[in-house]
């Protein structure tokens, strides 16, 4: 890329950063079962009255990315309109035996595994078309997973905003502090997408961060 073009591009990013734009396409990312769809459902329900998709304890329940356009969030005097993309859980391995352990027949488990691999490909491709990411981490789990490292690395490499939602704080073993110390360079909001704990703080951060 030529020097002038590069400077122009970087000034454009800077300009957008200073004079915040009012529509942003935001992806909800994270490993399987971190609570992405539960969070997407809560956001959509709180601001539009609808729902986004089904949730389940079986991993890879979401196997197609779902987009909801024009979700306006108002918080603390800030207003932002988002296109929200709920993505399938990212993983580096899919073993159909894992689904059989949840009571599925072999054929159904294999079909789900195949759909899960397609969903992951879709989620990876979406990374290129986003203005920012809400990375949902399960606060009861080790935060240094490859999925988290890869999503954060991709956002940092492209200078795009990232907000970490440390989910499942309704569970006693959760530790948002562990996530904060793992990735101190990014804003983090501890939440329970399930019962809505601290969700207003998340909306404040979303309006502030992606506006």
């Amino acid at each position: 890329m030529g020097l002038i073009k590069k400077v122009k591009k970087n000034f454009s990013s800077l300009w957008k950063g200073i004079f915040k734009k009012k529509v942003a396409r935001i992806g909800i990312y994270g490993p399987p079962n971190a609570g992405k769809t539960t969070l997407a459902n809560r956001i959509i329900r709180d601001w539009t009255g609808d729902a986004m998709g089904a949730v389940s304890e079986i991993p890879h329940e979401t196997r197609r990315a779902r987009r909801r356009e024009g979700v306006t969030i108002e918080s603390n005097g800030s207003k932002v309109t988002l296109d929200i993309v709920d993505t399938p859980g990212l993983a580096t391995k899919i073993d159909f035996h894992d689904f059989m352990a949840h009571g599925m027949e072999e054929e159904e488990a294999k079909r789900r595994a195949k759909e899960a691999t397609e969903g992951i490909i879709e989620a990876v491709k979406w990374l290129e078309d986003l203005d920012g990411v809400i990375l949902v981490m399960d606060a009861t789990e080790d935060p240094f997973t490859q999925v988290n490292v890869t999503v954060i690395g991709n956002m940092e490499a492209r200078n795009l905003p990232l907000l970490i939602a440390a989910n499942k704080i309704d569970l006693p073993e959760s530790s948002p502090a562990r996530i904060r110390s793992a990735f101190p360079q990014h804003p983090l909001v501890p939440i329970s997408a399930l019962d809505g704990q601290n969700i207003d703080t998340l909306y404040e951060e979303i309006a502030d961060h992606f506006g």
């Binding site: 590069k6 400077v7 580096t92 691999t117 397609e118 991709n154 940092e156 490499a157």
Partner: protein, 131 residues
């Protein structure tokens, strides 16, 4: 498990581990690296990359891995790398593309390599010889 002849001529059975230098990786394109990794892992090797993949290469590797997963044959990869480091200088952040310093990465078959513990500066993994 693989039966191999060592450079001293001994025949040994075990898990093959390839340690790939930063120099070799720097001469390869993204797709060449991904092909090298997937071919190696599908042969049951553990690969250690002296300097890991860029974030976009990692995303591409996940994508390619998904296309190669087959039931009863290949369940995917286990990949572990330290979080990358970023250029923190303000002027560089404003006027340059962020400089991402990738770090050591370990990759292996999902059914043979299991991460025990990982933090910013330590990766502890268990390598199994069983398929």
């Amino acid at each position: 498990m693989k039966r191999s002849q060592t450079i001293s001529g001994d025949i040994m059975i075990g898990v093959q581990m390839d340690l790939i230098s930063e120099d070799k990786l720097s001469r390869m394109t993204a797709m060449e690296k991904i092909r090298l990794i997937l071919d190696g892992v599908k042969e049951g090797k553990i690969l250690v990359l002296e300097r890991g993949l860029t974030p976009s290469e990692e995303a591409k590797l996940i994508e390619m891995t998904m296309t190669e997963i087959t039931p009863d044959d290949f369940a995917g990869i286990e990949i572990e790398s330290y979080p990358s480091k970023q250029n923190q200088k303000l002027l560089d952040k404003l006027f340059k593309k962020p400089l991402i310093r990738t770090r050591l990465t370990v990759i292996g078959p999902a059914n043979q390599l299991k991460t025990l513990k990982k933090d910013r500066d330590l990766i502890s993994a268990l390598v199994s010889s069983q398929y």
